[in-house]
Every structure is written in structure tokens, then in C-alpha cells.
């Protein structure tokens, strides 16, 4: 590869031993041409980012202070959107549900993939098979997994209750009960997304040098101590990053509540994003939807900044 490249350049250098003189117009124009060319390559991507990432972010903040109906000129209304949204009884429910969902997803969905990856990394057989199987639910469209679990949770012939019955356990209302709906949705989200997390952990575990385990073992560390003092510190960065990404993702959960419960029963599964959707497309209240978006943005932004700061300073000490 490099040989052919070298051979190809050799005659060219022989023909033109001296670099060509700078083109007419000198360095400045040459640089201008380079710049124009560079921005020519950048243009398409830049326009798309500007239109669909940067502009909407600014627009969310602007519309949050406006009465906005598509087709007619917007009106400035100050903080009216915020006060209206804050007084909506669904607002508190949506935030409570979203935070509970995120917390449950962390409790259920965080330890399980780590332990799974830890165990998978020890297995010497059928490694490819395990990786494929664990990632299979991720490749099933989220809408399909949501509909699939909606059917499992069916109070009639649903698989979830059939499984409980066959084990002689009391049945549950699953997604149809106000108390159990949120947990049921967390189970779906965990099932559907865990594969990616497991694969990322596996990659991180494989990068741990084996000598560390050997040294720990020589020092008399048992299995759990090796996990605690070698594995976790060595994968700390990946764990912390994935935790942040998972929190941000679960704070924006929409598909599962929309498809499985429709926000019910009794608003038990209305999430913030679901409420944003409702404001925009059911109430036609784009100002309210943007006010909610801004609140979510500010909260997640502040959380991410604080999280990164805390975890980083902890790493320095």
C-alpha cells in the first residue's frame, strides 16, 4: 500500500523537482480559494445543523415567551406560557413520573447490564452468540417492542400474568394499574435498550490489563474485592458516561408511555415529553410546548454540567 503510493509519487517529483511557483495573485488569494473550497465542503452539513439543531434551540426559547399559532404573526406574552404550564395539574404528574421513571431505570437498568457484562466476559464459549442475543431486542423497532409488551401485559391472556399463574403467584395489573404502570414501562425500556449498554461494558472490560487481576489475586483479593478494586475503578469513566447518557435518554422517554399506556391510568405515566407532545398537537399550544421544552432543556443542561463537574473533580483527587 505505502510502497505503491511511494512508487507513484517518485516520477512526479522527478518531473517537477521544484514546487510550482505560487499562482498569480499570491498567497492571500490562494488562501481565500482554500477557504472557499473548505466552506464549500462544509456548506451542506452546516446548513442542516443550523436549520435543524441550532435554530430550533434558539426558537424554543423565543416561542416560550410568545403566543404562537402557525400562520399568524406571533404575539409576545411574557411569562404567561410558563405560568399556565406550571398551573397545569398534569405538569407535576409529568415531572414526578419522569423522575421516578429515570430513577427506576437507573436502579433496574443500570446494575443488570454491568453484572451481565461481567459474567459474559468470563465465559469462554459461545461468545458471539451471547452478543448477538443480547443485542437482538435493540434491533427490534421500539414501537414493536412496546406493542409486544403491551400484549404481554394484557390482563386477559397476557404472557406476564400467565407466567405468574403458572408459578402460582398472584397476578398483577402491570401497565393497567396506577401503581404498577411506571415499573412495567421501565421493564420494557430496560429489555429493549440493555443490549447496547452490555456491549459497551464488554468492550471496556476487555481493555482492562490482565496483570491487574493477577496482582490483586497475589495480594489475596477475593472475587468481589477484585470487582470492587480493579474492575470498577478501571471502567469508572465508561460507567459514569453511560449513566449520564442513560439519565438524559430516559428523561426524554416517549414511545413506551405513548404506545403502551397512552399516559394513563390516571396520568400515572404521562412524561414530560408526552406532555410537550400533548401541548403541541392536542391543545395546539406551541407556546406552552416550548415553555416545557425550555424547562426540560435547562434542567438537563444544569444536571449534565453539574454531573460532569462533580465526576471530574472526583477523578482529580
Amino acid at each position: 500500500m505505502t510502497r505503491t503510493a511511494a512508487r507513484r509519487t517518485a516520477p512526479a517529483i522527478a518531473v517537477r523537482p521544484v514546487p510550482a511557483p505560487p499562482p498569480v495573485g499570491g498567497r492571500g488569494r490562494r488562501r481565500l480559494r482554500d477557504q472557499l473550497q473548505a466552506y464549500g465542503f462544509l456548506l451542506g452539513g452546516l446548513v442542516c445543523f443550523a436549520l435543524f439543531s441550532w435554530y430550533p434551540a434558539i426558537r424554543a426559547v423565543v416561542i416560550a415567551f410568545q403566543k404562537y399559532t402557525p400562520g399568524s404573526p406571533p404575539e409576545w406574552v411574557g411569562t404567561a406560557n410558563f405560568t399556565r404550564v406550571l398551573h397545569d395539574p398534569e405538569f407535576a404528574a409529568a415531572w414526578r413520573n419522569t423522575l421516578t421513571f429515570t430513577l427506576l431505570a437507573l436502579l433496574i437498568g443500570f446494575a443488570i447490564p454491568f453484572v451481565l457484562a461481567l459474567v459474559l466476559n468470563e465465559l469462554r464459549h459461545a461468545r458471539a452468540f451471547f452478543r448477538v442475543v443480547v443485542y437482538l431486542p435493540v434491533m427490534i423497532p421500539p414501537v414493536v417492542s412496546a406493542l409486544l409488551w403491551k400484549w404481554f401485559y394484557d390482563p386477559g391472556a397476557g404472557l406476564a400474568n400467565e407466567a405468574l399463574r403458572s408459578l402460582h403467584l398472584p397476578t398483577s395489573d402491570w401497565s393497567n394499574g396506577a401503581d404498577t404502570a411506571l415499573v412495567s414501562l421501565v421493564i420494557v425500556a430496560t429489555w429493549a435498550n440493555l443490549g447496547g449498554t452490555v456491549l459497551i461494558y464488554l468492550a471496556a472490560l476487555q481493555s482492562i490489563p490482565g496483570e491487574l487481576y493477577e496482582a490483586a489475586e497475589l495480594d489475596g483479593a477475593n472475587l468481589l474485592q477484585r470487582v470492587r478494586h480493579v474492575t470498577i475503578p478501571q471502567t469508572r469513566f465508561v460507567i459514569l458516561m453511560l449513566m449520564l447518557l442513560q439519565i438524559i435518554a430516559t428523561m426524554q422517554v416517549f414511545t413506551e408511555p405513548f404506545v403502551i399506556t397512552g399516559g394513563g391510568p390516571e396520568n400515572a405515566t404521562v412524561t414530560v415529553l408526552y406532555l410537550i407532545y400533548k401541548y403541541a398537537f392536542l391543545y395546539n399550544d406551541f407556546g406552552g410546548a416550548c415553555a416545557l421544552s425550555v424547562l426540560l432543556l435547562v434542567l438537563l443542561g444544569a444536571f449534565s454540567a453539574g454531573y460532569l463537574r462533580l465526576t471530574r473533580s472526583e477523578g482529580d483527587t
Binding site: 436549520l51 435543524f52 443485542y135 437482538l136 427490534i140 399463574r165 421544552s293
Partner: protein, 291 residues
């Protein structure tokens, strides 16, 4: 693969260690089969049961008779060919736009040293920090009335294609790969008098096949799996992709037909995964380990 892991090889070689290993191994196989394969099995067999059998308690583990009417009904009644075709068009266009525009932009940022390149890259990476789903409403309003040219892209596949380009993750993946290409090869081409486009086309792209593959798969999967955005953008039933159509139709359709439609909707991505599993898994592992 004989790198040392948590449990030492000498422990595993002992009879007790061996027994423990195989116990754990069997346990994991059973757990995986039950947790990940069984739901999929239940879906596929559910689609092939008769409507009576699906509703029966206790359920049958294997269909008494294998029906395929569910699939044919779903195909005709739910207009699956149209929705699948819509999804294919949306995914293929998003892939093409992303590949062309993101590659060009990543190449410019990586190799052409544009003025304010750092600022632009910072602006792009900053979007990774912004929760994307939280901005769907202003994004929807932008697509409904594009600034300056006042065009409405709703119900048009462009509403999927163009926003797909604004994918900071894929762009950064490409840029980082281009950064690592050997400098001397590119310089040699430049001395030979190759233009920027020529260098990109004949040297950079052929050397970047692995990353282009990963980005392609991510781009296709993202569009195929998306729900909220196409739900907002396509109010016209005839334009909806399969994910939106499934949910819209799910309320008024017989259960076996719906389940059959779910199986059909899953096949393309699962097939893609099984064919490219090696690359996909390697891509996820590599993309994350460094990031």
C-alpha cells in the same frame, strides 16, 4: 482470546472451577433464552396462531396449527407494502444525504483547516449535549415553514432526510477517523496535483470503508427505529413509515394480524443485524470505548 479476566485460568482448570463455570454458563444460556429469545419466539408464534388460540388461557406454547393468514391479512389490510416502501425511501434518503454531506463536512473539518473550524466543530459537538427529543416541537415548526424560503416540508421525505444530516455523533465519528489517516499518503496525492475532491473520492473514502460502514448502519437503523419525529411530521396516512402506521392501526385491528405486522416490521432490521452483526457489534464497541 486468552487474556486474563476476573477469574484466573488456574481456578477454572480445577474440577470445582470447571463445574462452577459450566453451571454459570448453563444459567446464562437459559437466562438469555428466556429473557431475550422467548419474547421474540412468542411474537413469531403468536402471529401464526388462530385468533381463538391467541386469546386462550393457559396459552399454548406451540401453535396447534400454523396459520399464515395473519401475515397475508396484515400485508393487505394494513397496507404494509406502502408503509414499508415509505420507510425504505426515508431511510435510504437519510443515509445518502448523511453519507454525502456529513462526509464532506467531516473531511473539511479534519483536513482543510477552514477558518473558525474549531468554533464550527464546537457548535456541532454542543448539539450532542442538548437533549434532541426535547427540541422536536421547534424543529417541527421549522420544518413546517423553513426560514427565508418559506417552504413546508411536512409529509415530505425531505423532512426526514435533511434533519438526519444534523447528526453530530456520526459526523464526529467520521472526522475522528479522517484525523487518523496517514498524512504522507494525502500529501503525496496533493503533490501529484490531485484536487481536494479527488483526494476525498479516491484516497480518503476508500481508506475509510470501515467507518463508512458503521455510519451507514447507524443512519439506517436510526430512521427505521424512529417514532416521535415521523409521528409529528407525517399526518398523511399514505406517507407514514411502518413504525407510525403500526401504532395508528393497532387499536382497530385483530390481534393476530397486528402481531404478524409487528413481525414483518422487525424483519428488515433483524436481518440487517444478523448479516452485519460482526461489524455492528465491533462498531458499537469501538465507537464507545474511546468516546
Amino acid at each position: 482470546m486468552s487474556t486474563r479476566t476476573l477469574v484466573s485460568p488456574s481456578v477454572l482448570a480445577r474440577p470445582r472451577g470447571k463445574a462452577a463455570y459450566w453451571t454459570v454458563f448453563t444459567g446464562v444460556v437459559l437466562l438469555f433464552a428466556l429473557a431475550f429469545l422467548f419474547p421474540v419466539y412468542w411474537m413469531v408464534t403468536g402471529a401464526m396462531k388462530s385468533p381463538d388460540e391467541v386469546a386462550r388461557t393457559p396459552p399454548t406454547l406451540v401453535p396447534e396449527r400454523w396459520h399464515t393468514d395473519g401475515f397475508t391479512d396484515a400485508w393487505d389490510l394494513m397496507q404494509l407494502p406502502r408503509h414499508l416502501w415509505n420507510t425504505v425511501v426515508q431511510a435510504a434518503g437519510a443515509w445518502a444525504f448523511q453519507l454525502v454531506l456529513c462526509t464532506a463536512a467531516a473531511y473539511a473539518l479534519s483536513r482543510l483547516r477552514p477558518a473558525f473550524g474549531k468554533v464550527v466543530l464546537g457548535g456541532i459537538l454542543a448539539t450532542l449535549m442538548v437533549p434532541a427529543q426535547a427540541l422536536v416541537v421547534p424543529k417541527y415548526l421549522t420544518v413546517a415553514d423553513l426560514p427565508l424560503i418559506h417552504t413546508n416540508l411536512l409529509n415530505d421525505p425531505l423532512a426526514i432526510w435533511l434533519p438526519a444530516v444534523a447528526n453530530a455523533f456520526n459526523l464526529y465519528l467520521l472526522k475522528r477517523f479522517f484525523d487518523q489517516l496517514p498524512r504522507d499518503v494525502l500529501e503525496a496525492a496533493e503533490i501529484d496535483g490531485a484536487g481536494k475532491l479527488r483526494i476525498l473520492w479516491s484516497i480518503v473514502l476508500p481508506m475509510s470503508r470501515p467507518v463508512l460502514g458503521v455510519v451507514s448502519i447507524f443512519a439506517l437503523v436510526a430512521v427505521w427505529q424512529d417514532f416521535l419525529w415521523p409521528l409529528m411530521v407525517f399526518s398523511d396516512t399514505d406517507k407514514q413509515p411502518i413504525s407510525v402506521a403500526l401504532v395508528q392501526l393497532s387499536a382497530n385491528i385483530q390481534l393476530t394480524v397486528l402481531i404478524a405486522a409487528m413481525v414483518i416490521a422487525s424483519i428488515p432490521m433483524v436481518a440487517l443485524f444478523l448479516v452485519f452483526q460482526r461489524h455492528i457489534i465491533a462498531g458499537i464497541s469501538a465507537g464507545s470505548a474511546k468516546g
